[in-house]
């Protein structure tokens, strides 16, 4: 039986105090999309639920020199539209659009999706593709961590007891001809993807690919960079050497052994990684070229 207290602080400071008091036993409730399921299935037994529902100031989206800062309480619905205003968020918007259904997107939040750390999270795979950083605050201070280091495994993060994720920063693109794309496959609408792939490419003036990123979702416990495939693309001229996209897709497919699940074996997921990587890269290059140099 669930025996825990429920608090609705109104400021970040109050929330942090509650989190500090309850330490390991505290869990944050943002939109409830993830935590309600974890509670129902009995996967977590917190002693205190700290809701951010009434905390002001966590739902802003602002563009700054370092990049776009997005508050943890921004809903998936808003994220789904943010790409129109902030072009670097386009792939994230596309990912947010595919999560569950409209009702859930109205409730679910950016921060909740990140901290829920579901292995198939569309949001986390897209954010990693965009090289996102998260801001963690506690009564002890504040730190910024790359999302890659924040996600530790299935339903697990490296957040310390008492820390609250308040915002996410998406760095700006260094080169103008840059684009990110998010592709996913699920036979049924609204499901977590069987596999998803995020691809980021940026092309210099000659068409050479700089610092590509390929992120595979729902293959391992957390979104995973397909490093060999990325290396295959780095410094290649993608305008001339289009074969390297296919080669990178093949490398991505063999990069890891995905976890099997009911109705999707590891081998099938590898096939999907190949198909989706090729599609994501092809689209990313096309989009990058749409941007005037």
């Amino acid at each position: 039986m669930l025996n825990c207290c429920y608090c609705e602080p109104t400021t970040v400071a109050e929330a942090l105090t509650l989190l500090a008091e309850h330490g390991d036993g505290a869990r944050v409730v943002a939109g409830g999309q993830v935590i309600a399921l974890l509670l129902r299935q009995g996967f977590i037994k917190p002693s205190c639920l700290v809701s951010l529902q009434s905390v002001a100031g966590l739902d802003g989206i602002t563009a700054e020199q370092r990049g776009v800062r997005i508050g943890a309480m921004v809903t998936l619905h808003r994220l789904g539209n943010a790409g129109n205003e902030y072009p670097t968020l386009r792939a994230l918007s596309e990912a947010a659009h595919t999560v569950a259904d409209q009702h859930i997107r109205n409730r679910g939040t950016l921060g909740g999706n990140i901290c829920g750390a579901h292995p198939a999270s569309d949001i986390n795979t897209a954010l990693m593709t965009l090289n996102a950083e998260v801001t963690l605050v506690s009564t002890q201070g504040e730190r910024m961590v790359n999302l890659h280091e924040f996600l530790a495994g299935p339903f697990t993060t490296t957040a310390k007891p008492g820390e609250l994720l308040t915002e996410v920063t998406i760095p700006g693109f260094a080169l103008r001809r840059s684009a990110a794309v998010y592709c996913r496959f699920s036979p049924r609408a609204g499901d977590f993807p069987v596999v998803s792939v995020g691809a980021f490419v940026s092309l210099d003036d000659t068409g050479q690919c700089q610092e590509p990123r390929i992120v595979l979702g729902n293959c391992l416990g957390a979104p995973t960079r397909a490093t060999e495939a990325e290396q295959r693309l780095a410094h290649r001229n993608l305008l001339e050497d289009t074969r390297s996209l296919t080669e990178a897709a093949t490398l991505a497919a063999t990069h890891l052994t995905p976890r099997s699940e009911p109705m999707a074996s590891s081998a099938y997921k590898q096939d999907l990684v190949g198909v989706l990587t090729r599609a994501a890269l092809t689209e990313a290059v096309a989009r990058a070229l749409e941007v005037r140099p």
Binding site: L2, P187, R188, P262, Y268, D271
Partner: protein, 782 residues
């Protein structure tokens, strides 16, 4: 006939959509508490001990029961092989062992967790083909021979120890058919098929509320398919005479075959007795998936003898029904699944062996079609392959082999109201059969598929209906036929309205309650419109006979010169001479007036017998009540890289004899198509090596959403009406035939698109990618 054949609003529609309709879960009784069931975590184990002391000490716990609190009787419809709560052995993950009643469901769940059960794990058996061996690695029921059995199995030299059902069809000379095919330039085609492991997945989980009266009468509210089957089950499980058990059926949120028995009702009753308080038990979705009736797979081996020009010479089928730990609600599936084989095609020889076996899984049960949807997957895929083998169009091939009206089938019974030609023709027309699909280009491939199907309705069976005539020109229909969502209440109400010539609003419905409503067998086997419909007509006729008799002295003519309609009893030859219904009743008895009609109460029983059960040959003049026919066709689009299948267009042409409520039939067609698409393409219960279901929730078990369905303008419902001589107004049922041809229609369409077969359902993306890749390796191309 004014209301029958039209589509008035569903009489339960407003209540349901406004939330006013009361389902079992909504029932709240004074002092009611909540029950939870303690279940086995192991697929096969001896129970060494059950320690309930800690559970009893949890504050708020009112009663804990184990098998020791129940009569020592085994349950089961035709083979009594199952205890309500396990005695010394558990045989599947989820088998009930004990139960707790407490002030809240949460406390009851906590108490179940506090219970200690010691097990000795036994080796488990999951593979039905291993299970059927004469010396299997595990025998599930060592005491099988001592069990009470109500049905005879086919004769065999030695029964495989895990076998609980055996049935045969023997017709013609099957060996001669194979010889002829080989000798005369024909061919033999042999394939193995398997259906999927799927669940009814009703919106409403099973639930029951039990309350004991001061005189020892038990009342159970349970949203099941048959109050009388439920009453008999409760009576047996609890050792009560049937008259001491009252079953009330509130609104039901879907059943599809999954709500025939009420084990949770019996558990609630036992808890209520011990706690001396009413008890409600509502299953969770996980319990629904893991412990209630699933459509477990069939494995079919079909060997056909075919002439060079596509005429069936003989068909030999071996089928194994993958039963679970108990014969359960699937007790008749190995028999009834064979009814499909002789139903559509002319078969000079038919040889069938059909078996049901025990394994350490959830008991196999009913799901819309009771074996025929499974048989159709094998037979109708096979028909497509035959057509392609002898280069005959699949529709033409079927037409060539169809039975004709009145022709004796391979099980003796003559084909009647045989509408397969019309269904097939109309279906083919609607899908533009013969016009190839436009191809969108790699990786998407399109194709069309068609399949035929038939669905028996079982016999013997019976339905009784009462109709009480009220003095205010209102007609009260009392029936134990349950509306599970299929529209039975509306259709029966339409019949009463027509029989009395009144508007539908003048009919009042009394819903199933064994204390009030008369016997009706079950809301299953597409039987309610047919049987309960007939009983309703007869009960109405009985009431109008009484009305005419009572009116005769007042009108001064013989009763047979009178007619009843629109609230009047009138002289046929001179309708201006009439009295009103109210005139039949004289209520002012205290004023000294003689009561004319005190009570006008029509009642009738409609019964259909069957020819004797012959498990060794399957032959019979009349082994079923009737047989319905239907065809479905699909156009699909397949992505060979991801394996995704999109259904672009879907057509159902279904014969219902007479569409009592055309919109209701249309909804059955669409609903059946949606359910059938889910079963064919998406749904699958998955298990780990310990026999535990690994996707027992609605996120992981893939019931499709509306987005996976064809667009509404691409879903077509065609109603075919070939009247049945015994059906009310000629009607047959529509509930199950609408999912029978669905899987093979889709499978044949997928083949048409990508040129590769998948033999086992469902047609998942992964399987599609796999067969496509295998084909590419072999050097083929679409």
């Amino acid at each position: 006939m004014k209301v029958v054949g039209t589509s008035p609003k569903r009489i339960d529609g407003i209540e349901k959509v406004t939330g006013a309709a009361q389902y079992t879960g909504d029932i709240v009784l004074p002092r009611m508490i909540f029950g939870k069931i303690k279940r086995s975590p192991l697929a096969h184990a001896k129970i060494l001990s059950i320690d309930t002391r800690k559970a009893e000490q949890v504050p708020g716990v009112r009663a804990v029961i184990t098998a020791a609190d129940l009569p020592d009787v085994r349950l089961g419809v035709l083979t009594r092989d199952e205890y309500l709560l396990a005695h010394d052995t558990v045989r599947f993950v989820g088998e009930p062992i004990a139960a707790v009643a407490a002030d809240t469901p949460e406390i009851a769940r906590e108490a179940c967790e506090q219970m200690t059960v010691e097990y000795e794990e036994l080796p488990a058996l999951f593979d039905p083909e291993e299970a059927i061996a004469l010396d299997p690695p595990v025998v599930l029921h060592e005491d099988y021979e001592e069990y009470e059995r109500l049905i005879e199995l086919a004769e065999m030299d030695k029964r495989p120890p895990n076998l609980w059902q055996a049935y045969r069809i023997r017709h013609g000379d099957i060996d001669a058919a194979f010889h002829t095919a080989e000798a005369e330039g024909g061919f033999i085609l042999e394939n193995r098929y398997m259906t999927g492991y799927v669940h009814t997945t009703c919106m409403e989980p099973r639930a029951a509320v039990a309350q004991w009266g001061p005189d020892g009468t038990l009342t159970v509210w349970a949203g099941g398919q048959s109050p009388y089957i439920a009453r008999d089950g409760l009576s047996r499980a609890l050792g009560l005479p049937p008259s001491k058990v009252r079953v009330i059926v509130p609104f039901v949120g879907g059943a599809f075959g999954g709500k025939l028995t009420v084990h949770e009702g019996a558990i609630a009753a036992a808890l209520a007795k011990k706690a001396r308080r009413p008890v409600k038990v509502v299953l969770t979705r996980e319990e629904e998936f893991t412990t209630t009736s699933a459509r477990t797979p069939f494995i079919f081996s079909i060997k056909d003898a075919v002439s060079h020009d596509g005429v069936l010479l003989g068909r030999k089928i071996l089928s194994i029904f993958w039963g679970g730990a108990y014969s359960g609600e699937g007790f008749l599936k190995p028999i009834f699944s064979t009814h499909l084989y002789p139903g559509s095609y002319r078969l000079p020889a038919l040889w069938v062996d059909s078996y049901g076996v025990y394994t350490n899984r959830i008991a196999g049960g009913a799901l819309r079609g009771y074996g025929c949807a499974e048989s159709a997957w094998a037979v109708e895929t096979q028909m497509d392959i035959i057509a392609r083998t002898c280069h005959i169009d699949p529709v033409a091939l079927r037409m060539k082999n169809l039975l004709t009206e009145g022709e004796r089938t391979a099980i003796t019974m003559p084909a009647h109201a045989f509408s397969a030609h019309e269904c097939l023709t109309k279906c083919a027309e609607a899908i533009e059969w013969g016009t190839p699909s436009e191809q969108p280009g790699h990786p998407w491939y399109r194709g069309k598929g068609i399949a035929l199907g038939n669905k028996y309705s079982f016999a013997p069976t019976a339905a009784s209906v009462d109709v009480k005539v009220h003095e205010d020109n209102t007609y009260e229909l009392r029936t134990s036929a349950v509306d599970l969502g299929q529209g039975a209440y509306t259709v029966l109400t339409q019949i009463v309205a027509d029989e009395f010539g009144v508007e539908i609003e003048r009919v009042k419905l009394v819903t199933p309650d064994t204390a009030i409503t008369p016997f009706d067998h079950v809301a299953g086997s597409s039987r309610q419109t047919f049987h309960t419909g007939n009983a309703t007509r007869l009960a109405c006729a009985d009431a109008t006979r009484q009305m005419r008799q009572e009116a005769a002295p007042q009108l001064g003519v013989d009763p047979d010169k009178l007619d009843v309609s629109g609230g009047r009893i009138f002289v046929k030859e001179n309708p201006a001479r009439f009295i009103e219904v109210g005139d039949l009743f004289v209520v002012e008895m205290l004023a000294g007036k003689r009561p004319a009609a005190v009570e006008i109460f029509g009642k009738a029983t409609w019964e259909v017998s069957a020819s004797p059960h012959d498990p060794n040959t399957g032959q019979g003049e009349h082994p079923m009540a009737y047989m319905g026919h239907g065809a479905q066709a699909a156009e699909v689009e397949v992505n060979v890289e991801t394996g995704q299948v999109r259904v672009l267009k879907f057509v159902s042409a279904i014969d219902v004899g007479k569409a009592m409520n055309p919109q209701g039939v249309e909804m059955q067609n669409f609903g059946g198509a949606c359910m059938g698409i889910g079963i064919a393409l998406h749904e699958e219960m998955c298990f780990d090596e310990k026999g535990r279901m690994t996707n027992s929730n609605l996120e992981a078990y893939k019931i499709p959403t509306i987005i996976e369905m064809p667009r509404s303008e691409s879903m077509q419902s065609i109603i075919v009406e070939v009247p049945h001589q015994q059906g009310p107004y000629g009607a047959k049922g529509a509930g199950e035939i609408v999912v029978v041809p669905t899987s093979p229609a889709l499978g044949n369409a997928v083949y048409d698109a990508i040129g590769v077969r998948i033999w086992d359902l469902p047609l998942t993306p992964e399987k599609i990618v796999k067969v496509w890749q295998a084909k590419q390796r072999e050097g083929g191309s679409a």
